[in-house]
Amino acid sequence: MELLSPALGTIFWTALTFVLLLVILRKLAWGPLLAMLDERETKIRESLEKADAAQKETEQALARNQEMVEQAKKEAQELLSKSRKAAEASKEEIVQKAHAEATKMIDKAKKEIDGEREKAVEEIRSQTAELSVMIASKLIGKSLSAEDHKDIIDSSLKKMVGTN
């Protein structure tokens, strides 16, 4: 049968055509295509790895931020309580100081009053002596000698001091 009898010429041409086609396509199509597929594969892998790393980094940054916020809150709390304590302490101190000052001033005033009273007493005493001399001379009507004066004053003074 002619249908099943191979023709050598056609076999030759087919093989030649195919081999040439293979060589041409390998150079112009399959080579660049397969190289590109490899490149794409590595690129996709790299991108995925990069995305993974970026996500990890973001998560880390987020955690760090959270931690920082937490820390800041804690610090603020601490600062607040510390300053409150300090304010309390200084208030106490001011009150104490004011108290002390007041006491000191009162003491001073008391001393001054005492001094004034002493002075006033002294003055009264000397004036009393003069007055008494005047009164005595008027009553007696006669003047006494200087020695008599002196004796009288001394004795009356002694009496006053003794009664005082």
């Binding site: 002619e2 249908l3 099943l4 009898s5 191979p6 023709a7 050598l8 010429g9 056609t10 076999i11 030759f12 041409w13 087919t14 093989a15 055509t17 195919f18 081999v19 040439l20 086609l21 293979l22 041409i24 396509l25 390998r26 112009l28 199509a29 399959w30 080579g31 660049p32 295509l33 397969l34 190289a35 590109m36 597929l37 490149e39 794409r40 690129k43």
Partner: protein, 263 residues
């Protein structure tokens, strides 16, 4: 057209003429007669079809992949989806890490056979893959690639030794050695005949249905037959794809078996 008329018109020798009409369209015809050193190297219709198919492939695939982009578009996207499918379904499972090495051969075979199959459906053309000479040439090329792959991976003697399954009792060897050697060739003979027979069968059916129209000369029969022809033609598109796929996957399997002889 003369075949049509004589087949449809003649009363005597009706069947013989019908068969002639079919054979006329399926068989190859020389276009340019060429003889070289006693060999008939005529350029036939099928050879011209092979060249047309090659030209189409070189033109489209070069446009698609000369400067391939990481993000494919249009034509390259279309071809890339086919190629990636072939890579994951046809090459990787059988060739593994070697698939890149044999991809150019397998891809060229697939697209070459596919385009030849589909070109055969264009009216006025011929189906080159429906020619036993063409399929024998293709199967022979696969045979050569398989043997080279086996020898390259296992060494010449390693490959020859690996052809016989290990651990066989010695007394079976006289039977097994010829069986394995015959098996080596029958696989590829089957490859040639499968493609040839599938491509021829569809066309025989189409031409036979055409003959029915001109034999009955009735609008009713003609209409029904035309629907049949349309159906078979659509089926032929499917068969053209399937046969190209089968040829490629079997080539891949044979290469894989030669490369990894232990399983």
């Amino acid at each position: 057209m003369t075949a049509f008329e004589s087949a449809a018109g003649g009363e005597a020798g009706h069947e013989a003429l019908g068969a002639d009409f079919i054979m006329q369209h399926i068989l190859d015809h020389p276009i340019i007669h060429l003889h070289f050193m006693g060999f008939d190297l005529s350029i036939t219709k099928h050879v011209v079809m092979l060249w047309i198919a090659s030209a189409i492939l070189v033109a489209t695939l070069t446009v698609a992949f000369r400067r391939p982009k990481l993000v494919p578009k249009g034509l390259s996207n279309f071809f890339e989806s086919i190629i990636l499918y072939l890579e994951s379904e046809v090459m990787r499972p059988y060739l593994g890490s070697d698939s890149r090495k044999y991809a150019p051969y397998l891809l060229t075979a697939f697209f070459f056979i596919l385009v030849c199959n589909l070109l055969g459906l264009v009216p006025g053309s011929a189906t080159a893959t429906g020619d036993i000479s063409v399929t024998i040439a293709m199967a022979t090329l696969t045979f050569i690639v398989v043997q080279l792959a086996g020898i390259r991976n296992n060494g010449f003697f390693g490959y020859i030794k690996g052809l016989i399954p290990p651990g066989l009792p010695v007394f079976i060897l006289p039977i097994m050695v010829p069986v394995e050697i015959i098996g080596l060739f029958t696989k590829h003979v089957a490859l040639a005949i499968r493609l040839f027979a599938n491509m021829v069968a569809g066309h025989v059916v189409i031409f036979a249905l055409l003959l029915i129209i001109f034999t009955f000369k009735s609008w009713l029969v003609g209409g029904i037959t035309l629907a049949g022809i349309l159906f078979v033609s659509l089926l032929e598109i499917l068969i053209g794809l399937i046969q190209a796929y089968i040829f490629t996957i079997l080539s891949s399997v044979f290469i894989g078996m030669a490369v990894h002889q232990d399983h």
